[in-house]
């Protein structure tokens, strides 16, 4: 076959780039191998686990089932793009650390990109809505509650609801005003 390779122009983490790409490559392959963006994980590679999630033109996609050549003209964001110029973590990442939402960390970059998409809407979601929005990711370590809590807290903090955010307890729900004291 003659046109096995193709030049792909796109914007990755705010920077316009171009590279010659094998047409058989997935977007995961391109981001990891050609751009060394190794936050994009290879979990299942069949669109089930969400470990490879990146943002393309504002929406979260599983990059493992997205052909690299389709990235032509697209704007792509990965976790590497969330870090501030001074190297500080974003509020979402801070919350993941704070809540113990990361154990082995394999699912984290995907979850963080989806959280970024959810939270950029500026909406206040119900618990059920948040769970549904996060449902495209599998985590084998945390049992999801810590992740849910990290996202919910960041959402509330961004909405200026600092007090409510601090009250989100281990079930992810807002605590009663007088919790039982430790005996």
């Amino acid at each position: 076959m003659d046109n096995q390779y193709k030049v792909v122009h796109c914007t990755i983490n705010g920077k316009a780039v171009e590279k010659v790409v094998d047409v058989r490559a997935s977007l995961t392959d391109m981001l990891r191998n050609d751009y060394r963006l190794t936050s994009v994980k290879k979990g299942c590679e069949v669109g089930e686990c969400g470990a490879c999630t990146v943002i393309i033109d504002g929406e979260g996609f599983n990059s493992c089932i997205y052909l690299a050549v389709w990235a032509e003209g697209k704007e792509i964001w990965t976790v590497e793009g969330l870090i501030s110029p001074e190297g500080e973590l974003s509020d979402i990442q801070e919350a993941f650390v704070e809540e113990g939402a990361i154990q082995c960390g394999f699912c984290s970059p995907g979850f963080i990109m989806t959280s970024w998409e959810i939270l950029k809407s500026g909406k206040e979601y119900t618990d059920d809505e948040l769970r549904k929005l996060l449902s495209g990711h599998l985590c084998r370590c945390t049992g999801y509650e810590n992740i849910f809590r990290a996202v919910k807290k960041t959402m509330l903090r961004r909405l200026g609801k600092k007090k409510e955010a601090e009250k989100v307890n281990s079930q992810g729900i807002t605590e009663y005003p007088n919790p039982m004291p430790f005996i």
Partner: protein
């Protein structure tokens, strides 16, 4: 790397047709959430692909000159759910496709791909069946329209001839006018799961809301291809909106549904839930249509 022999990227619908004619062995790839996974599994390894993913002209929802709702075949599930035309006239379709896979799958999955793969479990298919959708197919000889009932030939086979691709899905005005529907997906998990059996019901009530003018019930995974429970539909036509009629209607779907035993569920379970879902989806459709159950 995917085990792909060759990838031809279409630049227009005409170009896609030309590519399909030049490469008769090639398969169409739209969003790829089925095709790429099957390549990865080895089932379609070594294929030639004609990609239509970059054809933005096939995206979006509009009302055409004939007042059909026109859904471009490459419109993603996520965009269908968010679309104001869908929300206004056929919200049940937006709700149904919002149950496919998870959020990232709904960003890549297209309604055209969901119907062209000919699978009975497609979450869009039972609703499109129940709303008498019409498939717009474009090929070397031009454009033709195929009613969805004829589009599905048998499991995994649809009416696409060599060189043809589906370019839009149309919902005629006579179908969506005054019509309200509800879809129920029965599956083992709330996300990332395939439908055990799905049921989509819609109703048009008489002006006084006391009679059924038209009732349609579509099913997925109740037969090898998506199907309609026509016996039950016929029964309710012109009947009063009563408890007894609703019950009889739901029992009557068993005349038509013909599910099989599979590792996901038994035929008996699928028959049972077909009845329960018919009743629940009908009740919800009546409620949405502003009707009340009298007696």
């Amino acid at each position: 790397m995917y085990d792909i022999k060759a990838l031809y990227e279409a630049e227009s619908v005409e170009h896609a047709i030309k590519l399909l004619q030049e490469h008769p062995e090639a398969q169409i790839i739209a969003g790829g959430s089925d095709v790429l996974v099957q390549i990865r599994e080895g089932r379609r390894a070594g294929v030639e692909l004609v990609s239509i993913y970059m054809l933005d002209e096939l995206r979006g929802v509009s009302i055409d000159e004939e007042e059909n709702i026109r859904i471009g075949s490459l419109t993603s599930f996520a965009h269908i759910t968010k679309d104001p035309i869908i929300q206004k006239y056929i919200n049940v379709l937006g709700e149904a496709v919002d149950m496919v896979g998870g959020p990232q799958i709904r960003a890549i999955g297209t309604i055209g791909g969901n119907t062209c793969n000919g699978v009975t479990s497609a979450d869009s298919a039972s609703t499109l069946m129940a709303w008498d959708a019409v498939m717009e197919v474009t090929g070397p000889e031009g454009v033709r329209r195929v009613p969805i009932q004829d589009f599905y030939i048998k499991a995994k086979v649809v009416d696409l001839k060599p060189g043809e691709l589906q370019t839009a899905i149309l919902i005629p005005k006579s179908s969506y006018e005054n019509c309200y529907g509800h879809y129920i997906k029965y599956a083992m998990r709330n996300a990332l799961d395939i439908t055990t059996t799905g049921c989509s019901v819609n109703v048009v009530l008489s002006e006084d809301k006391k009679k059924f003018e038209r009732v349609r019930a579509g099913y997925g995974v109740a037969a090898p291809i998506p199907m309609r429970a026509t016996t039950a539909e016929e029964f309710l036509k012109g009947k009063n909106v009563t408890e007894k009629n609703i019950k009889e209607f739901s029992e009557m779907v068993l005349e038509d549904v013909n599910p099989r035993n599979s590792w996901r569920a038994s035929r008996a379970l699928r028959r049972h839930i077909s009845v329960v879902m018919a009743e629940r989806a009908l009740r919800e459709s009546i409620r949405l249509a502003g009707g009340e159950i009298n007696g």
